[in-house]
């Protein structure tokens, strides 16, 4: 039987027009042991197939949430995915241990650069102050929170930095894949 894959949940409504997210996704897509589910392609009508999503989660060794930051949070379809798929009895509550012990990596891109995400910047707070909601979602489901991967200034960032971020992402994913092979 094949090793349990890393599940990459990708949420971008317009991936073709995204520079950073598309680049990052491309870095992930070629990887063995990584399964990509692009939510906006699968569920343009927001009619999430809950059973299919839960099956994908159950058979995964680790979960990645990759998306652009929209209004300091996840895009609406990913939020809807949280609401519907991470249900009681599956992800939490009695019998809800499907995600228990799995690693969770948050990959987020922002339009604002690092300066904007500072006390003096237009967003008034560093990014880590916006992350607790997503982080606690993972923790509440019993997942192990990995150090998030953040790419600031997504449409200003130069080619070199983008390439570096993609390589970094690839390395992080490979690490998740190999850690799945050697159980904790």
């Amino acid at each position: 039987m094949a090793d349990p894959p890393v599940l990459l949940v990708f949420a971008h409504p317009y991936p073709d027009r995204s520079r950073a997210n598309r680049r990052l996704l491309r870095a992930a897509e070629g990887l063995r042991g990584v399964v990509v589910r692009s939510l906006y392609d699968l569920y343009p009508d927001f009619d999430i197939d809950i059973a299919a999503e839960q099956n994908a989660l159950t058979s995964a060794s680790a979960v990645v949430w990759q998306h652009p930051m929209y209004w300091y949070s996840v895009p609406s379809l990913l939020k809807h995915w949280f609401d519907k798929v991470l249900a009681r009895g599956f992800a939490y509550g009695s019998g809800g241990d499907a995600l228990w012990g799995k690693r969770c990596l948050w990959v987020v891109t922002t339009g604002g650069d690092e300066g904007a995400f500072s006390e003096q910047g237009m967003h008034a707070r560093p990014l880590r102050e916006f992350s607790p909601v997503v982080e606690q979602t993972a923790l509440f489901c019993g997942m192990r929170w990995e150090e998030p991967l953040v790419l600031h200034g997504a449409h200003k960032v130069d080619e070199e930095l983008l390439e570096a971020a993609a390589l970094d992402y690839r390395a992080r994913l490979e690490q998740l894949v190999s850690s799945a092979r050697s159980p904790v």
């Binding site: 409504p13 317009y14 991936p15 073709d16 027009r17 995204s18 520079r19 950073a20 906006y40 392609d41 699968l42 343009p44 009508d45 652009p68 930051m69 929209y70 209004w71 300091y72 891109t109 922002t110 339009g111 604002g112 967003h123 997504a154 449409h155």
Partner: protein, 609 residues
């Protein structure tokens, strides 16, 4: 007066029909009354253009034969088998219930018991021709009341055989002669077997050969078949109509069913008309004039007794209480068999004095009364309903009414109904087409056959208490008629409507229906979406574009709605589809141009925060 030539008679009959029938229809009296009036006018007691009413009547009976053949074509043996209880149980109940009081009344009028028995039996038979024609005109044939009436009529056709057979026996008894033997019965049986062999085994083969030989030959064979069978039956004293019906049933499964039907239809229509004309001609106005009070009382007494017994048996026959009187009005008249029975009784000298003429007259007049009785029924029912709206709310049957009524249960309505059912909402269904009905009944849908625009059907479906009416009828005119009727009579009922196209949509919207969906719009949008996806547009974005198109399209339609309604009022001319398309496309272009920026904004704002 000398009997006119065939050509001259044909001209007289056709002219009389062409003048009288449209007049009667215009006056909403129904075609039957028109034909009867035509017969009265040209008959021996009117202008006297035609003298021998009886010969015409005899000939025109072929019309009834053809009608029963066509009815039979629509009932395959399986369907007929399902009707067996209604036909034999219901039919015999009606016959006995009507024959006893009618015979009793005849006894009271001083007829000997043998004559009273024959009169009672003959008068309890109704006219298949009048009833079926009337029901067809009023779109009642496929409704529960229509089916009950048909079952009764079918049984009467069968029952007429022993009734006619019994007349000579009774006459013999009255005169102290010996009874006849079993030979007639055996001959009848042989004739029925012959019809089954012809209809079941011979005809399908011959039809296959004849169908290749051209249209006229096919028509000729169809007529030959029906008339031949009628001839066989007549030769052994069985109802010709019954034989034709049997042949029709046997051919109902044939692939030539529709061809047979279309071929017979015009002959049937003309000969039925001729039949009614002949009945009109046979009305003996001399007799009416000689004892007018007695004739009027006789006819009225006959009709009242028969209507009452029909009303009594209506419920056991599966007619709803509300339609009991309709059932009675449809079947109260005397039938064409009565003419034959009284004819036989006269030659057997069973009926004393003028009684055969009197009873024949009563039957003919009762046929003329049917359309009038139905008008009276509709009038009284409307009055009654207007006054006793609160009374009916306590009806126990009605309290089970579904919250939703679906009018039209074709490809469209079925999906709507199933979506509702999947949410546990049971609907009452109104439809013309009986195809899906058994399935629907099994799933607890209440199904009513018939024209959904008919008020009595809407009442029966519980339109007073339903919350929602889904108009899923495909034909725009029928749909609009239903909407208008509902708005007038059931103003509290909410309407959700299916529109065929933009013109229909506009007509529904301008009548104040707020929820109107074009039948192909949503699926066309999805096809547009799927096509965009094929062309490389991402699924979510394709969905957004379709959503956007929908919004703009509906907005622009709503914007022009007041103008459209105005124009339609002013010009009363529906715009051509081409004009509609042109205007719509211009509006689409305008709105999409205006919003074009919205489609391409994304790259700049990709990461919002």
């Amino acid at each position: 007066m000398k009997e006119p030539s065939l050509l001259a008679s044909a001209i007289v009959y056709l002219a009389a029909a062409v003048i009288c029938v449209p007049l009667a229809s215009r006056l909403k009296l129904g075609s039957v009354l028109g034909y009867l009036a035509a017969g009265c006018i040209i008959g021996p007691f009117g202008l006297g253009v035609v003298e021998d009413a009886e010969a015409t009547l005899h000939f025109a009976e072929i019309g009834v034969v053809l009608m029963l053949f066509v009815i039979g074509l629509e009932l395959d043996p399986a369907k007929l088998w399902k009707l067996r209880r209604a036909v034999f149980g219901g039919g015999s109940l009606q016959l006995v219930a009507a024959a006893l009081p009618l015979g009793g009344a005849a006894l009271l009028l001083g007829l000997p018991w043998q004559a009273a028995l024959v009169a009672g039996l003959a008068l309890s038979l109704s006219s298949t021709a009048v009833s079926m024609q009337t029901m067809a005109e009023k779109n009642l044939s496929a409704t529960p009341v229509g089916r009950s009436a048909f079952a009764v009529l079918l049984f009467q056709d069968i029952a007429a055989i022993p009734v006619m057979a019994v007349v000579p026996l009774l006459a013999a008894r009255a005169e102290g002669q010996a009874a006849v033997g079993y030979w007639p019965l055996l001959r009848g049986l042989l004739a029925v077997i012959a019809v089954i062999v012809i209809g079941r085994f011979l005809t399908p083969r011959v039809l296959r050969i004849v169908a290749g030989a051209g249209r006229e030959v096919f028509s000729a064979f169809t007529l030959l078949l029906v008339l031949g069978i009628a001839g066989i039956m007549a030769s052994v004293g069985i109802s010709m109509a019954l034989g034709a019906f049997l042949a029709g049933v046997l051919l109902a499964g044939s692939e030539y069913r529709h061809a047979l039907e279309t071929d017979i239809e015009p002959f049937k229509g003309l000969l039925m008309g001729l039949f009614f004309i002949a009945v009109g001609m046979s009305i003996d106005f001399g007799l009416v004039a000689s004892q007018p009070v007695f004739v009027v009382l006789l006819v009225l007494g006959f009709q009242v007794i028969k209507a009452l017994t029909l009303r009594l048996v209506a419920q056991p026959l599966g007619v709803t209480p509300r339609q009991g009187w309709l059932f009675a009005a449809l079947l109260a008249q005397g039938g064409e068999f009565a003419f034959v029975v009284f004819g036989v009784a006269r030659s057997a000298r069973l009926l004393p004095g003028h009684w055969d003429a009197l009873l024949t007259l009563a039957v003919a007049l009762s046929m003329a009364l049917t359309p009038l009785a139905l008008i009276l029924h509709d009038f009284l029912q409307a009055r009654f309903q207007a006054r006793s709206g609160s009374q009916r709310a306590e009806d126990t049957i009605e309290s089970q009414d579904a919250r939703v009524i679906i009018a039209g249960f074709g490809r469209f309505g079925q999906i709507v109904g199933r979506v509702l059912l999947s949410s546990g909402v049971k609907a009452t269904v109104l439809d013309y087409d009986p195809e899906q009905v058994d399935v629907m009944r099994r799933f607890d849908f209440r199904v009513y056959y018939g024209d959904a625009t008919r008020l009595d059907l809407l009442h029966a479906a519980g339109a007073e208490r339903a919350e929602l009416l889904i108009v899923a009828i495909d034909d725009p005119d029928t749909s609009l008629r239903l909407v208008e009727a509902v708005q007038e009579h059931f103003p509290k009922l909410h309407i959700v409507a299916r529109a065929r196209d933009v013109a229909h949509w506009q007509r529904l919207r301008s009548r104040g229906i707020s929820v109107v969906e074009r039948e192909t719009f949503e699926s066309a949008l999805v096809v547009g979406r799927r096509s965009l996806e094929r062309l490389g547009v991402r699924p979510y974005e394709a969905r957004e574009r379709a959503d956007q198109f929908r919004r703009h399209n509906i907005q622009s339609l709503e914007q022009v709605l007041p103008i459209w309604a105005d124009e339609a009022e002013r010009t009363k001319v529906a715009r051509s589809a081409r004009d509609q398309l042109e205007q719509q496309m211009e509006r689409d272009r305008a709105t999409l141009d205006r919003h074009h920026g919205a489609v391409g904004w994304h790259p700049e704002v990709e990461e919002k925060a």
